[in-house]
């Protein structure tokens, strides 16, 4: 009998703790598959964030280093500068990357650090119970924005992919989504490309992945997928913002 589907070697034999319908699990799987397909599990060192994916160090089947809230890009910088031949990646939420750790991600990109960042944007602080994040949409309710995000109080949601794409050291910047199968496929392609850019030593690569948080959005899993498509994609357009020029 031929095997048509199996667990990727890139993930450990562990059950994840994510809520039903949360897309963190899908994104983990895509990263795991890419590590496996590129044959780099044995060379990989991942950096886990603070947030719902704090336990990512238990889920990936490679060496893992936990980081303080927002500091994963600095930790990854330290690792990659010592071990330039290894494959280093960070996995971070929007609170982690776009709030407390903005300086770290901007400057890692700016220095052109040769690691890969998987940025999971679910427009909310999941782990701490649904507070507003810098990417929370205007009008979107959060426990610290009970009336919905108001521009006068909190500004507009920050578009990290667009911002990072303005930085010369960022070799690869793409925004993808995992709300349906077609987009999951595209997301995997982008993640693979970002790792390839690292393997080719071209500079910093980041994939922003639009993700759901049914628990804190107060929606069912299918409603959350629909909410992502209807509300997040119009504000956070999908697509590639930066790719290394060929032959350079």
């Amino acid at each position: 009998m031929s095997v048509v589907f199996k667990k990727t070697e890139g993930l450990a034999e562990k059950q994840t703790h994510y809520c039903p319908g949360c897309t963190h699990g899908i994104i983990h799987r895509l990263v795991g598959e890419v590590l496996e397909e590129l044959g780099v599990i044995g060379k990989a060192i991942g950096v886990a964030p603070v947030g719902c994916s704090v336990l990512a160090y238990d889920y990936f089947n490679c060496d893992m280093h936990e980081a303080a809230h927002g500091r994963a890009p600095a930790v990854a910088t330290g690792i990659k500068r010592v071990l330039p031949e290894n494959v280093v990646f960070t996995y971070q939420g929007d609170g982690d990357l776009a709030s407390i750790g903005t300086a770290e991600i901007v400057h890692a990109a700016h220095r052109g650090e040769k690691f890969t960042t998987i940025f999971v944007n679910n427009c909310i602080y999941g782990m701490t119970g649904g507070q507003m994040s810098p990417t929370t949409l205007v009008g979107q309710k959060a426990t610290t924005a009970p009336q919905g995000r108001q521009v006068e109080l909190s500004g507009r949601p920050i578009r990290m992919a667009e911002m990072l794409a303005t930085i010369d050291g960022a070799a690869f910047v793409e925004r993808v989504s995992v709300h349906n199968v077609a987009n999951i496929r595209k997301a995997k392609k982008a993640i693979k490309k970002a790792f390839e850019v690292q393997l080719e030593g071209k500079g910093f690569g980041i994939v922003e992945v639009l993700s759901t948080c049914p628990t804190n959005w107060g929606l069912t899993a299918p409603e959350a997928m629909k909410w992502l498509e209807d509300n997040m994609i119009p504000y956070y357009p999908l697509g590639n913002f930066r790719t290394p020029e060929e032959g350079k």
Binding site: A12, I41, G42, K43, A44, I45, V47, V54, L55, Y57, D58, F60, N61, C62, D63, M64, H65, E66, A67, A68, R71, A74, V75, A76, T77, G78, I79, R81, V82, L83, N86, V87, A103, E104, V106, H107, R111
Partner: protein
């Protein structure tokens, strides 16, 4: 090896390289900037890397990542910057990684000033970051000692898997003195089989972490750390007893302040007043044992510091109420003069029966 004349900050960098450190992550701040400058020049020559981080917060987290690979790493800063590094130091202590942090301290609080000060005593010895942790703190009094202790710091860091602080001040960093680069004391160091270097498919993944969601597991971890700290107290405490055999008035001073106090001890003895000095070389572990060796001739203790008296608590604890404890201090970058210290000793002796 022949002696060379070197500026303190550069000698510290040279000592780190001699100890096998190839990686430095830091951020400029007076009065220690010659150290990162030196490393940026020298590390590429030994196949290492220097990164000027965007902040001290980033620098210490780069150290956290690099230390996780099992290599020897160094960062340096001055007071204000070390305050920012406390987040990372707590993580490094929690995850039990080795690294060396040099603090060439200056006056505070806040932006303070750039002159030498010892006002980082609490921050250094009490653990400025969150949680139950400690780390060794070395307080060199000369550039030579700064070199020797920095090399020792790397060994101690590796042996116990702990961050280690070398606490100098602007005086040590900026002065030039002749130094010799001697071989550090040999230690049997454990293998770094915990490092994250890629499994190469040969072993289970290594995880570097300080998160324990189960309170029992965290308590177990904290007691394990505590046992390690007890072992460090037992084996790594360092101090100097200077002219203590017949001392009547006993100074307690560390770092550059101790050099000034030594001059005062000499001057007092020339006048027939028997003065002595206890000089803590490790501020943590604090040399409590030194106070058990104080001779019966002693009448009083005077803690002399470049702060408003941050070490007095430790002096009092170590002294266990046996002798009266006095204090003379200057702060804000003002340096105590030998004359003022002598006057304080006479005042104290005049008051004791």
């Amino acid at each position: 090896m022949a002696k060379v004349l070197m500026k303190g900050n550069e000698a510290l960098g040279a000592a780190a390289i001699k100890a096998g450190c190839k990686y430095f992550f830091g951020y400029p701040i007076t009065p220690q900037s010659e150290l990162p400058e030196f490393m940026s020049r020298e590390l590429p020559k030994v196949g290492g890397a220097f990164v000027q981080a965007e902040s001290e917060v980033a620098a210490i987290n780069m150290i956290y990542g690099a230390a996780g690979t099992g290599t020897r790493v160094l960062t340096s800063s001055s007071s204000v910057g070390v305050a920012l590094k406390q987040e990372g130091i707590s993580y490094i202590a929690g995850a039990e990684l080795p690294c060396v942090i040099i603090n060439i301290s200056r006056g505070g609080p806040g932006l303070g000033g750039i002159q030498p000060s010892q006002a980082d005593y609490f921050m250094s010895t009490r653990g400025g970051g969150n949680g139950d942790y400690r780390h060794p703190v070395y307080a060199p009094a000369t550039v030579q000692e700064a070199v020797d202790l920095t090399m020792e710091a790397f060994n101690v860091a590796d042996y116990y898997r702990t961050p280690v602080i070398v606490l100098g001040d602007g005086m040590i960093g900026q002065m030039m003195e002749p130094v010799e680069f001697n071989e550090p004391k040999k230690r049997e160091l454990p293998a770094k089989d915990w490092a994250t270097t890629g499994t190469e498919g040969k072993r289970k993944p290594n995880i570097i972490n300080s998160l324990f969601l189960d309170p029992q597991a965290l308590e177990d971890h904290n007691w394990k750390l505590d046992r390690k700290y007890k072992e460090i107290e037992e084996n790594e405490t360092m101090y100097e007893m200077y002219k203590m055999d017949d001392a009547e008035i006993v100074f307690v001073a560390y770092g550059t302040t101790s050099r000034i106090v030594k001059n005062s001890v000499e001057a007092l003895r020339a006048e027939g007043i028997k003065a002595g000095l206890i000089r803590p070389i490790t501020l943590w572990p604090y040399p409590t044992k030194a106070f058990d060796e104080i001779p019966a001739s002693a009448k009083a203790l005077i803690s002399v510091e470049m702060s408003t008296g941050q070490m007095i608590d430790d002096v009092k604890i170590a002294n266990e109420g046996r002798l009266p404890v006095h204090f003379y201090g200057r702060t804000g970058g003002m340096v105590p003069t030998p004359d003022a210290i002598i006057a304080k000793a006479k005042e104290v002796l005049g008051g004791v029966k």
